[in-house]
């Protein structure tokens, strides 16, 4: 087994009592004290996550906008400086290579934030299609990334010199000096809560994390791990690459049509249109368990006792105190209210298709991006 990589915050996590687990090739904290407590902090106060494992790729040059437009399911040349967009990179069969956020950092420059496990694949794909026209740089190693999430996030930033960031609109970003560290602060996140993602130099990541924890204590800020990050994103019904998204699945099947501009051409667009016109057989749905039991990733989904799909993500919702999940099911079973069963250790437990997000906060999801 290869050695796990460490983010610039790994030593600090260990000192803070984080329980370190392998994730996407990195040693990451799954929790510090309790997933449920950390989850509640993000819903009710604020929680601070290390997401430095994620990849950052910069794209620059006179053709950078055209290149981003070709690569992404949404036109990035139309993005105003200081704005962020969620989009997907698709392969030529219309399947998803990765989902990402794209920052317009300048007239001719973009920053792409991608999934840790996909950074190398994304980089190769982007370099292949950028050709000579744009410079593509992997900045992951020298970049630290913290996610400050929860309703008290803006108040916490105000304590470390970021009062002006409270005026940032959702999916906008600005440069700021926080506790002596230069950051790019964006009003984005992966929790369905209000919050910010703070990009800084790898060197500044630990001092910034500590300064935020210190300043946020009075606001109920706690450090939070990947366990809470996963329960939060599931409540917000945000897809996770390799679970809801993969190279065989089009963004439309995953319910992401609002992030796919099929009226223009991009890599994969022709295949997505073709597959859409041929008709999709399955759709991603959210469900709630109605019986006693918890659906987990990979559990079979049944209808009238017959296997019809699999749970892509499932678990307990700390906010709802119910078991929830996401699954691909045949389209005829995708309507809100459809009855399903989830096979839990050989028993069929009743479940029902429900509206997503399961929990809607002030800014749940990415609908206004």
């Amino acid at each position: 087994m290869t050695e796990l990589r460490r983010t610039p915050l790994a030593a600090l996590h260990e000192r803070l009592g984080g329980r370190m687990v392998p994730f996407a090739g990195f040693a990451m904290p799954v929790q510090y004290t309790s997933i449920v407590d950390e989850h509640r902090a993000a819903r009710e106060a604020a929680a601070l996550f290390d997401v430095s494992h994620m990849g950052q790729i910069s794209l620059a040059g006179a053709q950078a906008g055209a290149c981003a437009d070709l690569l992404c399911t949404r036109a990035m040349s139309a993005l105003a400086p200081g704005r962020v967009r969620y989009a997907l990179l698709c392969n030529e069969s219309g399947g998803v290579i990765d989902d990402l956020t794209v920052y317009r950092t300048g007239a001719d420059s973009f920053l792409l934030c991608v999934n840790a496990a996909n950074t190398a694949v994304d980089l190769a794909w982007i370099e292949k299609h950028a050709g000579e026209r744009s410079s593509v740089l992997d900045e992951s190693e020298q970049t630290g990334l913290l996610a400050l999430q929860g309703p008290a996030s803006a108040a916490v930033l105000a304590q470390v010199g970021g009062a002006a960031l409270g005026a940032l609109k959702r999916f906008s970003f600005a440069r700021a000096e926080l506790a002596g560290c230069s950051v790019l602060a964006s009003r984005t996140g992966y929790t369905g809560a209000d919050g910010f993602e703070l990009y800084c130099s790898a060197r500044d990541a630990a001092p910034l994390f500590e300064a935020l924890l210190e300043a946020g204590r009075a606001h109920g800020l706690v450090p939070a791990g990947l366990g809470a990050r996963d329960t939060l994103r599931l409540e917000a019904a945000l897809p996770l690459y390799s679970q809801e998204l993969d190279a065989d699945t089009t963004p439309l099947e995953a319910g992401l049509e609002r992030f796919v501009e099929l009226d223009r051409d991009f890599l994969g667009s022709a295949a997505i249109r073709r597959r859409r016109d041929a008709g999709f057989t399955r759709a991603l749905v959210g469900f709630e368990i109605e019986g006693r039991g918890i659906a987990r990733t990979g559990y079979p989904v049944l209808s009238a006792g017959r296997p019809v799909g699999r749970v892509t993500s499932g678990g307990p919702s700390p906010t709802l105190s119910r078991a929830i999940g996401l699954a691909y099911v045949p389209r005829e079973l995708a309507a809100i209210g459809s009855a399903l069963e989830i096979e839990v250790r050989g028993r069929a437990i009743p479940a029902r298709v429900v509206e997503t997000p399961f929990v809607s906060g002030r800014a749940a999801g990415r609908t206004n991006a």
Binding site: D37, G227, I294, R296, P316
Partner: protein, 130 residues
């Protein structure tokens, strides 16, 4: 990690269950070390009263937010009571694993402490894994 409680008067299995003998009844649950390792417990599935359990075989399931784990019997016998309170309040296992978070009462079919560790032995076993 927080201090791990290991009461002197109990016996312990290598799967982190405890057993408390009182006459011909043995109460069983998971240890403080186990509940700390699991984290927030959200679901406990226990066998029916009257069923048989076998030492070192799975008798039920415990789920934390993140993971599903089997529960292993520290001794063989017949289940004569199960903690119904855990259906509605599985978090009792986190809050009071040696008290309100008990799981089963077993009428043992043989020596109830055979193969089990005493508190000192279990403390050593926990320390080895820290």
């Amino acid at each position: 990690m927080a201090e791990t409680l290991i009461p002197e008067d109990l016996h312990y299995s290598a799967q982190d269950e405890w057993a408390r003998s009182e006459g011909d009844r043995v109460t069983v649950g998971i240890t403080d070390y186990a509940q700390q390792q699991l984290g927030d417990i959200v679901f406990v599935e226990l066998p029916a009263v009257g069923s048989a359990v076998t030492r070192d075989a799975a008798f039920g399931v415990i789920e934390s937010v993140k993971a599903v784990s089997d529960l292993y019997a520290p001794l063989s016998g017949e289940v004569i009571a199960v903690n119904e309170a855990l259906t509605a309040r599985p978090e009792l296992v986190n809050e009071d694993c040696y008290g309100a978070g008990w799981m089963l009462v077993i009428r043992p079919s043989g020596d109830p402490t055979a193969g089990l560790l005493d508190a000192a032995g279990y403390a050593k076993y926990v320390a080895e894994r820290a």
